[in-house]
């Protein structure tokens, strides 16, 4: 949930993102840049020198061989490739895609999981005095019911323990808790509408869906007492929606078809790189239910930001909807409701303009008054408050229709009608109001 401070900086960044240079100065800057390119090409005529690519070196080496040596070298490679091909074609080993499918299926059937996840980030431009390589160690626990826990330590960054620096507990269907052991504070967060609740589990979910052909086989070796078969896969194939560069190495237990070691390596370059290893993976083990108990340790302080009172929330939301409807000639927001998008939309409708010429038009103050209510609506819709917005079909004239509602802690619902009256109702009454 974004705090007011978060929103302030997000708004500042949003304003920065929308600063546009005027056409005349942009044209002039481009002319200057083109002139700089011309000057440069005169100064460096003849092209860069002294850079020999590895590929060139290889061909230089091959070029230095006699014809017989070349035939022998390429012949050996050709024979090895042919043998490999025949081995695979002959079905002497299980086809890799099938091994991946079996792994994915075994993960989907798993009941529990524990591993040590080590993430190493390399920054080529660290702060002065800061290390260029930093490491995070996450002990991850997961239950198929949807509960999870991570214990986090950052070695070499001053934490002396005992235990982790942070603990995050996500009990299935309940609010999560984030515990900061350094400051002895904890924060509670509502249940998000959909998993994954933490990025730590994204990779596991991706592997449970993976069925593509691996890039290559890595052979077999013993890991934690288990015979495992290794595959290298292109990370772009792991998540079709968010393809990412890099490669992953997965070692799968021949008996259980479950991964026992996974290494993700993001491609290097452009100043930073990352390596992640999932080690000591244990599947289908008994995990103590107390691991997923979101009770904070004794003596810790609750630092969770407090939401406004119900009356204040209703007042803010009604005010924002009223301002929008008045500005738009009797319509509530037609698209998804959140702070930035809806306010931007409202600004456009209000015709708030202060440039060019410095002459102000529109009513920026009205737009500012609407921010809090739309912020709150955005939060209620994002987290699992069983909130629903019907602004597309309900107008200010629909005094008995529900335009927005959300669930309260006691199980009842707070309802805001088209005419912006509000009422606290039972679930049964809500069903009638919404015509279900």
């Amino acid at each position: 949930m974004n705090s007011p401070e978060d929103r302030t900086i997000l708004r500042q960044l949003e304003v920065l993102s929308r600063i546009e240079p005027d056409e005349a100065s942009a044209r002039l800057a481009l002319e200057h840049a083109r002139a700089a390119v011309r000057d440069l090409s005169v100064a460096t005529a003849g092209g860069p020198k002294g850079h020999v690519r590895i590929r060139s070196r290889l061909f230089h080496f091959v070029g230095g061989l006699t014809m017989r040596q070349r035939m022998a070298a390429f012949g050996s490679v050709g024979v090895a490739a042919l043998l490999g091909f025949l081995l695979l074609w002959g079905g002497l080993v299980e086809k890799p895609a099938s091994a991946m499918e079996k792994m994915a299926e075994s993960i989907r059937k798993a009941k529990s999981y524990k591993c040590l996840q080590i993430v190493q980030l390399t920054d080529d431009y660290p702060d002065p005095g800061a290390p260029s390589v930093t490491e995070g160690r996450y002990t991850v626990y997961w239950l198929a019911s949807g509960s999870a826990r991570t214990e986090i330590v950052h070695p070499g960054q001053g934490w002396k323990g005992p235990g982790p620096e942070y603990t995050q507990i996500f009990p299935a269907g309940k609010p999560s808790i984030h515990i900061d052991h350094r400051t002895k504070k904890f924060y509670r967060y509502p249940v998000p509408k959909r998993a994954p609740y933490s990025s730590v589990f994204d990779d596991l979910e991706n592997l449970s869906k993976f069925s593509a052909e691996p890039a290559r086989e890595l052979g077999t070796k013993q890991i934690n007492g288990k015979i495992a078969r290794g595959f290298q896969i292109d990370m772009k194939k792991m998540d079709a929606e968010n393809p990412e560069p890099g490669r992953a190495e997965i070692w799968i237990d021949l008996q259980s078809n479950l991964p026992v070691f996974v290494r993700y390596e993001g491609m290097k370059g452009l100043g930073c790189s990352n390596i992640q290893e999932d080690r000591d993976i244990q599947w289908n083990i008994d995990l103590d239910p107390r691991l997923f108990d979101p009770t904070p340790p004794k003596g810790y302080t609750d630092a969770t930001p407090k939401p406004p009172t119900l009356e204040e929330q209703v007042r803010q939301i009604a005010r924002s909807l009223r301002i929008y409807a008045q500005a738009s000639g009797g319509r509530y927001p037609q698209n998804r409701v959140n702070s930035l998008d809806t306010i931007q939309d409202l600004c456009r409708i209000l015709g708030v303009v202060k440039w060019p010429g410095g002459e102000e038009k529109g009513n920026a103050g009205k737009a500012a008054e609407a921010i809090d209510g739309f912020d709150r609506m955005g939060d209620l819709l994002h987290y699992d408050f069983d909130a629903a917005y019907h602004g597309k079909t309900v107008t200010p004239r629909d005094k008995d229709k529900v335009v927005f509602r959300w669930k309260l802690d006691d199980g009842r619902y707070e309802v805001i009608f088209g005419d912006l009256r509000s009422e606290t109702v039972t679930a049964e009454r809500l069903r009638k109001l919404e015509g279900k």
Binding site: S3, E5, D6, T8, I9, R11, Q12, L13, E14, V15, L16, S17, R18, I19, E20, P21, S25, A26, L28, A29, L30, H32, A33, A36, V37, L40, S41, T44, A45, G46, G47, P48, H51, L121, D123, Y125, D127, A130, S199, D202, M235, N242, P243, E244, P245, G266, G269, L270, G271, S273, N274, I343, C347, V352, V353, K354, W355, P356, A367, A368
Partner: protein
């Protein structure tokens, strides 16, 4: 014209406007952005990294971010010529632009300068250049979830920096006189 110059020329033609806009957003000065764009061209022209980069725009964008914050850090003292009149950036013509004033933006940018290079890049690329986590992951060689985590962490850090000194504007630098 060498390969490097051709590559550079193509970049300026295709993406020069975007790079100039980025530099304007990070310096809040059109005249400085103009000068830094020329400096960027010169540096890229001499850079082996740019020559080898698979994505020249991503490389140039990152170099532009470094240049802009280097200027904010005091590099502008080294400028040979100072304009007689400052040319401020054009603020967005809407209510959000009105709600946030230039001094606040200067403070936010000064706070960004105190972040690590990767955190700063995350904030600039995601929140100012509005690239998606997926696009940024390609450019920063991280996974999208790491980018997302890095962005959230950067927001926390910048909020902490700003919260620690709420009424201290960014220190005045020579070029602002």
């Amino acid at each position: 014209m060498s390969d490097q110059s051709t590559r550079l020329s193509q970049l300026v033609d295709a993406e020069g406007g975007r790079l100039y806009a980025l530099l304007t957003r990070l310096t809040l000065r059109r005249d400085v952005a103009d000068e830094l764009l020329q400096e960027l061209v010169v540096r890229l022209g001499q850079s082996e990294g740019f020559r080898r980069a698979d994505d020249p725009l991503a490389y140039a964008r990152r170099a532009a971010i470094h240049l802009a914050f280097d200027w904010r850090r005091g590099g502008k003292r080294r400028r040979r010529t100072e304009p007689l009149v400052e040319e401020p950036a054009v603020f967005p013509p809407d209510a959000l632009g009105k709600l946030v004033d230039r001094e606040e933006l200067e403070r936010a940018l000064a706070a960004m300068d105190r972040l690590s290079s990767s955190s700063r890049s995350c904030l600039v690329l995601h929140y100012i250049e509005q690239l998606s986590y997926g696009e940024m992951a390609e450019q920063l060689q991280m996974t999208p979830h790491q980018v997302r985590a890095a962005c959230h962490k950067a927001i926390r850090r910048i909020q902490k920096i700003l919260g620690a000194e709420p009424s201290n504007p960014a220190p005045k630098e020579a070029g602002d006189e």
